[in-house]
Every structure is written in structure tokens, then in C-alpha cells.
């Protein structure tokens, strides 16, 4: 039986690992270690805001990391062109994560899928609560600065039709909150598509992982919290999930 995945998301600013809270940098945790043994998959995102910043720093970090990474690696942040995709794949990425680039040019999803296959394209969707959009959430882009007027369910469905192989749904409000995933948001998106859905933002304890899978319909639960990176914590989170009846890789 296919196992539910526990995925670690690492965000980088100009090549330096840090975490975010409410989508703003939070430098309190900068430990440069990941348990790349118990974790099922790793997502590395370049969240450098400075558009003039040298992208080489992130490329270097990915290349270094990929050499010693024997779990799948998805890479994203600032990917706008097929050249960017090729660069990230050459650095050792197994998949690319696209967000604002897909909002700007939805056909970009198809272009990547045609070259690398759908399984290579993760459509990342950032969403905020909104009364103005059907379903109560609005897709936002460009570091949550731009509204799109789209509902996350519609955008996920469109992304799937265009060729996305997975969807990563992130709640802007829950980012760094440790209050749990935005379950209704996860459910809206996972019900909308037939591809696997990964959920991010809000996990603060092991129960949140369980809720994400059982109530949110997630195929993978993601965490950016440094407390979840250490060797014993990933393993203990998975043991907890297994006790609650969720198939995981121990």
C-alpha cells in the first residue's frame, strides 16, 4: 500500500536556510541540518525576494544537498522558464515546484510536463481566506502579495488538466502558526483533483499530521518547523501516525 509521506520543506534566502512565519523571514531557527534519513521527501524553495539577487547561491546549495540526498528532492522558487527548470533538474532536483510562474503563464505547467512528464511538476498554491471568492479562499501569488481572484479548488483542477502531477497547498495565515493545517482548505483542494495533494503550513504537533491525512485528504504532510527535522522527531511523528492507522514508512 502506498504510504503517506512526511515531507520537510526547507526555505532559503540567498542560499541560507531559514524559516518563515506569515510568509516573512523568521531567522530564529537557522540550524543547518535535516534528517534526510527518516523523512520521505525534501522540498527546497528559494524564497529570496530580491529579484536582483544572484540565483547561483541557491543553485549551489541544491547541488551540494543533492549529492548526499538519497530521498526525493523537489526544488522551486522563482522558476519562470524552461532554462530555470533545466538548471534545477541539473542541480539534482527530481521535481520542480512552480507557483507564481504558473499563475503568470498557466501553459508553463504543460511545457514542463511535456519535457519531463507530469510527475515532475508540482503546482504550489498559496491561499488566503477571502469572502470575495467562491469557497472562501483566494489563490495569491508573488509571496502572497498579489490576489488572483481564483479559488484554490479551481486553480488546482486547472493545473491538473494542464499537466501538474502534484499540488502543494499552503495556507498563508497558518504559515509558522503551529495551529494545524487549514483542514477545510486542504479538503477543498484534495477533493478537486485526482493527483496527490501535499499540505503545508501550520503543523505544530503530531496530531496535525494525522488530521491532514484523515480530514484534509492529503497524500503528504509537510512541515517547515525545525523541531520536526531532528532524527528522533521525524521517526516519532511517523510512529504516532502509524498508531493512528495511517500507513507510513518507518
Amino acid at each position: 500500500m502506498l504510504r503517506k509521506r512526511l515531507v520537510t520543506v526547507l526555505t532559503f534566502n540567498k542560499g541560507t536556510l531559514f524559516r518563515t512565519k506569515l510568509f516573512e523571514p523568521d531567522y530564529r531557527y537557522t540550524h543547518n541540518f535535516v534528517d534526510s534519513w527518516s523523512v520521505d521527501e525534501i522540498v527546497m524553495l528559494d524564497v529570496t525576494r530580491d529579484v536582483n539577487a544572484d540565483k547561483a547561491a541557491f543553485f549551489k546549495v541544491v547541488t551540494q544537498f543533492a549529492k548526499e540526498c538519497f530521498v526525493p528532492l523537489a526544488v522551486g522558487g522563482g522558476i519562470r522558464s524552461m532554462d530555470d527548470v533545466r538548471t534545477m533538474m541539473a542541480a539534482g532536483g527530481d521535481k520542480v515546484v512552480i507557483n507564481s510562474g504558473a499563475v503568470e503563464h498557466p501553459e508553463f505547467i504543460t511545457e514542463i510536463a511535456n519535457a519531463y512528464g507530469s510527475q515532475c511538476v508540482v503546482l504550489s498554491i498559496d491561499a488566503k481566506k477571502s469572502d470575495a471568492v467562491d469557497g472562501g479562499y483566494e489563490v495569491v501569488s508573488h509571496f502572497a502579495r498579489n490576489g488572483t481572484g481564483k479559488s484554490p479548488a479551481d486553480w488546482a483542477r486547472e493545473g491538473e488538466e494542464l499537466g501538474a502531477g502534484e499540488v502543494l497547498i499552503t495556507s498563508v495565515e497558518r504559515d509558522g502558526s503551529l495551529q494545524g493545517y487549514d483542514i477545510p482548505l486542504c479538503k477543498l483542494v484534495s477533493d478537486a483533483v485526482t493527483v496527490p495533494v501535499l499540505g503545508l503550513a501550520g503543523a505544530g504537533n503530531w496530531k496535525h499530521f494525522v488530521e491532514g491525512v484523515t480530514d484534509g485528504g492529503l497524500s503528504a504532510v509537510c512541515t517547515q518547523n525545525i523541531y520536526h527535522f531532528t532524527e528522533t522527531s521525524v521517526a516519532s511523528a511517523k510512529k504516532f501516525m502509524e498508531k493512528k492507522g495511517i500507513p507510513v514508512r518507518l
Binding site: 527530481d94 519531463y116 515532475c120
Partner: protein, 204 residues
């Protein structure tokens, strides 16, 4: 020296990293002489089937590989797309001829249970169905990492050496003489994956 065939489609460095970790020298190349000189070949791949074949053709590698693998019986391991390319053909984006060394087509994964998601992404149990050196020291039911939307149809007993189930059984690994292939990514499957790669590097 291990020749990692460069078809210009992703994931080459991860494979090279795993081979290096296991203490073997590898070269990522599309150069005919270097591939001919390699002791063993790995055909990796994250990519779409038509682009994979197109790139092999454009680099003049199809006849070369036929010669090295079929005539000279050089051991080869196909991984993921590289594994699918060993087959007869694929439905991905139309109908494309493969290398045709394994007598089975590649078709879309269509789980009977519609709640099962496609692509099939993640760790899944792999049943070892036949004796194969790739799985030496690996327990039956070991978890490997899969990420694919298409599957190879059953190439028949004796060729399919492992299967996996995602709303229906599909081929997870094959061996036909010197030709080996895995649908999963051994280079991304931690200890069992490294053991499998080591088996190929040292026993094939």
C-alpha cells in the same frame, strides 16, 4: 567505470551521487567511445517518454546501445523513465516506440479504485517475485520510492522480477539476461535502494 547515459533529461546527478557514495567511478556522458568503454551502463530518467527517445536518437545512441547491450551484452540498468524506455512502446503523449528490449508496452496507470491518486508518488511495498541478483539482501516487501504516471505491462514470468500494487499490480523491476530495470528510484530509496544499486554495480 560506470557509464551514466546522458539523454539530457534530469536526475543524472542523483544517480551519479549514489554510485559515488557506493565507491564506484561514474561518468555522465553521451559520448559513444566513453559508453563503449564503460563496464556497465545506467539509463536513468526523469522525463517524458517521447522526449527520452527523441534525445537518444538525436545523440545517435540507439544503434550504439543496441550494439553494446544486445550484441556485446554489457549490463545495463534502466531507472524509472530509463526502465520504461527498455519496453516496446509508450502511450505517454501519443504512441512512441521504445528500445524494445523488454517485450511489453508502457501504458497509463489506471487504478480500479478511483480514490487512488495518479501519478503514483511515494513509498510502496515491492513484492519480489523471482530470483534476481538486484534484490540480494533485500527483504520481500521492501519499500521503494516511486514517482510515475505510466507503467510497464507484464513482460511475462521470468522477466518481471518484482511487482508493486497501486489499484492493480504492475511491473516494478525486470531482468532479462544483462538487461535490468526498476520502475522505482533506487537512488532515492535510501538503504534498500543503495543495496540494489550496489548489487547491480558489483554482481551484474
Amino acid at each position: 567505470m560506470i557509464g551514466i547515459i546522458d539523454h539530457g533529461l534530469g536526475n543524472l546527478t542523483s544517480v551519479a551521487g549514489a554510485v559515488a557514495k557506493l565507491g564506484h567511478d561514474a561518468v555522465i556522458t553521451d559520448d559513444a567511445d566513453k559508453l563503449a568503454a564503460a563496464d556497465k551502463l545506467i539509463l536513468p530518467g526523469v522525463g517524458a517518454f517521447p522526449d527520452g527517445m527523441k534525445n537518444l536518437k538525436a545523440r545517435g545512441l540507439i544503434d550504439l546501445l543496441d550494439d553494446l547491450v544486445i550484441k556485446r551484452r554489457k549490463p545495463i540498468l534502466g531507472i524509472c523513465l530509463g526502465f520504461q524506455l527498455l519496453g516496446q512502446s509508450s502511450q505517454e503523449f501519443g504512441d512512441t516506440q521504445g528500445l524494445g528490449w523488454i517485450d511489453a508496452p508502457v501504458t497509463l496507470l489506471q487504478p480500479e479504485d478511483k480514490t487512488m491518486r495518479v501519478p503514483h508518488v511515494g513509498w510502496n511495498d515491492t513484492a519480489i517475485d523471482a530470483e534476481c541478483i538486484l534484490f540480494d539482501g533485500i527483504p520481500d516487501g521492501a519499500l521503494f520510492y516511486f514517482v510515475h504516471k505510466y507503467k510497464m505491462e507484464d513482460p511475462g514470468a521470468g522477466v518481471a522480477v518484482a511487482t508493486c500494487n497501486h489499484g492493480g499490480r504492475f511491473t516494478a523491476a525486470v531482468q532479462k539476461g544483462n538487461i535490468f530495470g526498476t520502475q522505482f528510484h533506487p537512488e532515492k530509496s535510501q538503504q534498500h535502494g543503495l543495496t540494489l544499486l550496489q548489487n547491480f554495480l558489483e554482481k551484474a
